[in-house]
């Protein structure tokens, strides 16, 4: 088994699926000749041709909109939006069309596409290149939202997403692209969408995280009897895994790099309160970014949750 980073794992998943299924077509800005600004699609245009790896004009709304038409026609397009901050230009297409085409046409048309976009902070990039607004997209019925936390989950989740019959937003934690290497099987494997993973067993507190925060949480919980849940799919939430862990530990801390107000942590906390209130021994705490726009590099460490804040939250709930 090869040790791959996340860029290589995603590239391998795309290549394998393109070789297996000629309906899979990539499109986006700089994805072809240049192999994408993070080189995730490197070599794919050479291998599969310019008709299957389309360099598009600079037009996020039309990239998304065209992908919808392609999907309805019977292809399985994989639009790449170069950075999450540029998905806002494509938001109407995602919300008003991709996510509701099946419903609006009562199943006559469907929209099996996977929108890939790099997301998250900590890469010293310009404004709007480090967004983590995943909660906005989780508020769209009909759209699945998936976030891998490493190379292994990236390949398995992407292969599952590419075979899903409905639209999937696939968020690639930019900070992790080349940070971690893992054993990634060359064979075809899928990680089921909607299933979380217990990344570390524990019994005193449940810590919920995803994407690049998972790595930070795992580094922060040394010395704590903490169970760490890697969500992997943000919508639909794997409530079964979350609830069974919290019913066992009686404590929950949710860590995300997005801002606090109406972040996904709010949805998780509300659901835990609805479904597991009588098992809780302490308030549910959220460790999040403050409610301000993502800053540039000089202040990013003050913005993103770090080990000290994660441990402070653990200490707080463990007082009860």
């Amino acid at each position: 088994m090869a040790q791959l980073n996340m860029v290589q794992a995603i590239n391998q998943a795309l290549a394998d699926e393109m070789a297996r299924d000629d309906r899979v077509v990539l499109l986006g800005e700089d994805v072809g000749r240049d192999g994408g600004v993070f080189r995730v699609t490197e070599g794919l245009q050479d291998r599969f041709g310019a008709e299957r790896v389309l360099d598009t004009p600079l037009c996020e709304s039309a990239i998304m909109g065209a992908a919808i038409g392609m999907a309805a026609y019977g292809l399985r397009p994989v639009p790449e939006i170069q950075f999450m901050g540029f998905t806002y230009s494509a938001f109407e297409q995602l919300f008003a069309h991709a996510a509701r085409l099946r419903s609006r046409s009562r199943g006559r048309y469907s929209c099996p596409l996977v929108v890939r976009t790099p997301y998250g902070g900590g890469i010293k990039a310009p404004e709007l290149h480090e967004e983590s607004t995943e909660a906005i997209f989780c508020h769209i019925p009909g759209l699945k939202v998936v976030v891998p936390s490493g190379p292994y989950s990236a390949k398995g989740l992407l292969l599952a997403a590419l075979r899903d019959p409905d639209p999937v937003l696939f968020l690639e934690p930019t900070r992790l692209y080349r940070m971690l290497k893992e054993e990634v099987p060359e064979v075809d494997y899928q990680l089921e969408l909607g299933k979380a993973r217990v990344a570390r067993k524990g019994s005193a507190v449940t810590v919920v995280a995803w994407g690049s925060m998972l790595e930070r949480v795992l580094k922060s919980v040394d010395g704590y009897d903490a169970e760490v849940i890697d969500l992997l799919t943000l919508n639909p939430l794997d409530l079964e895994t979350l609830l069974s862990s919290v019913r066992k530990t009686g404590r929950a801390v949710i860590v995300h790099e997005a801002i606090k107000t109406c972040g996904l942590g709010a949805e998780i906390a509300a659901t835990l309160a609805e479904e597991a209130m009588l098992h809780l021994r302490a308030p549910i705490l959220r460790v999040t970014a403050p409610d301000v726009p993502v800053p540039l590099a000089k202040l990013i460490d003050q913005y993103l949750p770090g080990p000290d804040r994660i441990r402070a939250a653990l200490d707080e709930v463990l007082k009860y």
Binding site: G65, A66, G69, S103, G107, D166, L239
Partner: protein, 351 residues
């Protein structure tokens, strides 16, 4: 260095019938008398449908409805050039195109009565659901054209929108992409001159909408949108071009929205009776009747016959639409996803 002229351009306007219904024989499309008669029947059917829909709305039997009155030639003429295999992306004011393509009348009415099940296009047609968000369907058509070409299919793509949509970013992005890839697509803009209360001069400083296409690297033509023969001719040529690899065409069908924007609108607040009266005189159905009458192919009696047939079809459509049982509460979730999420599945059961 001397200044150079980089580009000069001309924009064509095409009409076959003048306002009196006299035809320019050199421009007559290749249509049999039966085919022209069929277009006439469809225009009358569209008018009857529209009048009935407005009155059903007034009686509370339909919801808000956007009339097509005045745009029958633009819709019937363009849709008559389409083939069953072609993909069609409508806005929300294309019922004449739907009727021409054979979308079932009860189902069309059912949608405007507030029943989403009616957007399940019959399998023999490739019509996308009505698009209410103005202009946002235009990129979908570009994607379908990309897919058709990728599949080496002979299908072409037609996308309908109005003058207001040409101000939107999606219009620009989609036209630009279609030009870059030289796709098999026809952009059919019904310039009805009003986007709710904003007249054309409030949408654009451009002398025509047709000329916008030139900036994207393909042909734009203005067509007399109240002249069904001109609209058919231009659409047919554009589709032939698309199918033979000649790339996209933009058609500006210059017409007029004779009615309110929707049944919730009152156009009297923002436009003059004189303007409406002028365009009533340019009624596309009247023009075709004059053309047919000149060759003895139409008499008032025949006209009444066509209207009676259309009325009977609409009567039956209304009866069938109103006999459809209402959706069950659980149908809220139909098509939400191929497999409902656990939460949706619970909500469907009332939890």
């Amino acid at each position: 260095m001397p200044e150079e002229v980089l580009a000069t351009f001309q924009v064509k306007r095409v009409s076959v019938l003048n306002e009196n219904g006299s035809a320019d024989l050199a421009l007559m499309p290749e249509l049999s008398a039966d085919q022209i008669w069929r277009m006439y029947q469809l225009m009358v059917l569209s008018r009857c449908f529209d009048e009935r829909a407005v009155s059903l709305q007034r009686e509370g039997r339909l919801g808000t409805y956007p009339p097509i009155r005045g745009q029958e030639a633009a819709q019937v003429g363009s849709a008559s050039a389409l083939k069953a295999e072609d993909w069609v992306f409508p806005s929300f004011r294309e019922m004449g195109a739907h009727l021409t393509l054979g979308y079932p009348i009860p189902q069309l009415l059912q949608y405007w009565a507030g029943d989403e099940r009616a957007q399940k296009t019959p399998p023999q047609l490739n019509i996308f659901p009505f698009c209410v968000a103005v202009g946002s369907q235009i990129p979908h058509a570009v994607g379908a054209a990309l897919a058709a070409r990728y599949r080496r299919d002979s299908a072409a793509v037609a996308v309908y929108f109005g003058d207001g949509a040409t101000s939107k970013g999606d219009f620009h992005e989609a036209m630009n992409m279609a030009g870059v890839y030289q796709l098999p697509i026809v952009f059919i803009c019904q310039n009805n001159q009003w986007a709710i209360s904003v007249p054309l001069k409030g949408q654009t400083a451009s002398a025509s909408l047709a000329q916008k296409a030139l900036a994207y690297g393909f042909e734009g033509v203005q067509v007399d949108g109240n002249d069904v023969l001109a609209v058919y001719r231009a659409t047919n040529q554009a589709l032939e071009k698309a199918r033979s690899g000649g790339g996209p065409t933009f058609l500006e069908c210059l017409t007029y929205r004779m009615a309110d924007h929707t049944t919730a609108d009152d156009a009297g607040r923002y436009r003059s009776d004189e303007e409406v009266a002028l365009w009533n005189g340019r009624d596309p159905i009247l023009r075709l009747e004059r053309f047919l009458a000149a060759s003895g192919a139409w008499t008032p009696e025949q006209g009444r016959g066509v209207k009676e047939e259309a009325t009977a079809l609409i009567d039956r459509g209304v009866r069938e639409m109103e006999a459809v049982p209402p959706p069950a509460p659980a149908e809220l979730f139909d098509g939400a996803l191929e497999t409902l999420t656990p939460r949706q599945a619970g909500q469907r059961k009332g939890r």
